[in-house]
Amino acid sequence: MMYLPKRLLIEKEVADSPLVKKILETLPDTPVDWVDQLKEDGDGEKGNVLEIVKFRGRFIKPCPGTRFYNCCGYQILNLAIQCSLGCTYCILQAYFTSCNVRLFANLDEAIQQLTEHLNNSRRQIHRIGTGEFADSLLLDPLIHLSENLVPFFAAQPKAILELKTKTAQVDLLEKMDHRGHTIVAWSLNPPQVIAAEESGAAPLEARLEAAQRCQEWGYRVAFHFDPLLAYPGWQQGYQEVVDRLFAAVDPGGIAWISLGTLRFMPSLKTVIQQRYPNTSILDEEFIPGLDGKLRYFRDLRVEMYAYLNELLLGIHKDLCVYLCMESDDVWREAFGFTPAERGGLSAMLDRRALSSFGRASI
């Protein structure tokens, strides 16, 4: 379902930005309010308003992992915040007080910061994503952001872009010369979970069809079973997803697959209960993790990870499957090894990233 805001709220300072011009061209009939400067936590009516502002901070930041669990070393390119897909478990509900999607229109500054960041870094490879605080492709039909990002990354010798989405809005990616520097990734869940908990997102079939098309266009794809949700019959549900996944895509063209069970800051619990009183995602037992987030009890996490890992590797033994924010003991129990035994999680993924554009391994 394409995101169509009822109203645009635009800071006057970004009036000449190409992104603003593009959106006004795409949505000629949508009412626009021009404002001097929007507050951090949003202004005006809450809900289906697209706020377009000048971002005044650092566009590129490391993923906010914690020292207690293994982090993948991903970097975030922050071009928008909030999401309209309305997933019940979404952490953004606790991060941002405003429900409005906010787009940062000063893309030129973002690209400049990113260029400097890449030039000044000694890292051999940067895995950079736009899907941490927003869905990477939600706004693409409106602003054609991928037309800026994919060619930029194609020209970067040591960077790879991961576009993470729950949409099927990939049309614009077809004609782009990505040179293997863009990975398109989907978050996956069983159809009944999508219907109940991700009702604004694309159905599983549509996500997999989109992934199939991206593979046809030469992109490597990735999948994130995150959040994995425990519900009666979850084994069968995820088995079905895995079956359908490999019926649709070539496992050889998968960059990586991550697994992460549901986890959230305690403050999100009340928000979920208030906004989605009928959701069953809070029914399982949760314990406070080392990072303060509530998560499933470790035995269940291990069971779910081991189950998924066996399913996935049973289909293609060379898949790169990793755990998002888990401890060494959970890795060892679920996968039989720890990231440190393979050079660290970040290095494991860097090797996969490099292989997508045929460079020597690090």
């Binding site: 399982e284 009890f297 470790r298 060494d328």
Partner: protein
């Protein structure tokens, strides 16, 4: 200042059903009855003449109620002009009360609920919450505003201080029957406030997961067996019920704890030594507690422990499966 004049009034002129400025809640204090009975009404109540000719009580509702109870009339009262707004009258009632005494939580909730009709949320929070000795917070204000809708016996208990307002907050989203089931449960067994909060969350969680109402859970056979085991002290029954409900809500953690306790028992740790798993078995940090009186005793225990640590049984204790 709002204009008012002294009048002698008959109690039949008072509109007892008009509670728009009423913020007092709770039984009439015995000392107030004794005072009025002994020396009469010292401080004049304040009322306002309404368009229907009846009088709205602004300040002194309890004094007037005592007078009614004692059949004292006519009464000398201050009567406000009809031009005084309801907002002004309500403020007068609030400031009159807070100047004399601490309001109970139900009264605080009445202040916030009634003033909310006249002020926007930000003004309400900034002006009235500090006045009521409450942290100025939207969330807390919202919780207080839900209290007046609770059942009378729950409100009475909150006003008396036998039920904490925090429990009123967590009961407010529930169905009436479930609220009363929790209320009776908490009146019957001695739980601390934080444990009461934990139990509401636990029982509601079990109910959502198992498709049962909190009432069904609190009235279930296994809970009732413990509730009715009157030969045991109430505190012991309360602890057992809490343990049982927590185990039902978190069966995986409970099973792991039981397995751990069983295996540690079989391990035969030296006397004075305790093996402590990480909280919730999360993370790698296990610890050992060892108490001793002499150096040679410590040396012996450490040797015994070193031997134990190499045993497969010890490693098994630390594994989840």
């Amino acid at each position: 200042m709002t204009e008012k004049e002294s009048y002698s009034i008959q109690l039949q002129e008072v509109d007892w059903n008009d509670t728009s400025c009423l913020i007092t809640y709770g039984p009439l204090p015995d000392k107030l009855i004794l005072s009025i009975q002994t020396v009469g009404l010292i401080q004049k109540p304040v009322l306002q003449r309404k368009s229907d000719g009846l009088l709205r009580i602004v300040c002194g509702s309890r004094r007037l109620a005592v007078c009614q109870q004692l059949g004292l009339e006519p009464l000398s009262c201050e009567v406000l002009s009809t031009s005084a707004s309801l907002d002004t009258c309500l403020r007068m009632a609030i400031y009159d009360n807070i100047a004399q005494r601490d309001l109970n939580p139900v009264e605080k909730s009445l202040v916030l609920t009634k003033m909310a009709l006249h002020l926007d949320q930000a003004q309400l929070v900034q002006e009235f919450m500090p006045l009521l000795d409450l942290e100025p917070s939207d969330t807390l204000c919202g919780r207080y505003k839900k209290l007046p809708a609770l059942e009378e016996n729950i409100l009475d208990a909150i006003a008396r201080g036998t039920l904490h307002e925090r429990i009123g907050f967590v009961l407010s989203p529930l169905e009436q029957g479930d609220r009363l089931a929790f209320f009776n449960f908490f009146q019957e067994l001695p739980f601390s406030v934080s444990v009461q909060e934990e139990l509401v969350e636990t029982v509601v969680g079990i109910g959502r997961r198992d498709n049962l109402t909190p009432t069904q859970i609190l009235d279930s056979e296994e809970v009732n067996d413990l509730r009715r085991a009157h030969k045991r002290p109430a505190r012991q029954r309360a602890q057992k019920i809490r343990k049982q409900l927590l185990a039902r809500r978190a069966p995986r953690l409970t099973a792991r704890k039981e397995k751990f306790a069983r295996e540690v028992g079989e391990l035969g740790l030296p006397v004075g030594v305790r093996l402590v798993p990480p909280p919730y078995f999360e993370g790698p940090r296990w610890s050992l507690e060892c108490t001793f009186e002499r150096g040679d005793e410590l040396a012996t225990r450490l040797r015994q422990l070193a031997e134990l640590a190499d045993q497969p049984e010890f490693k098994k204790v630390m594994e989840s499966e």
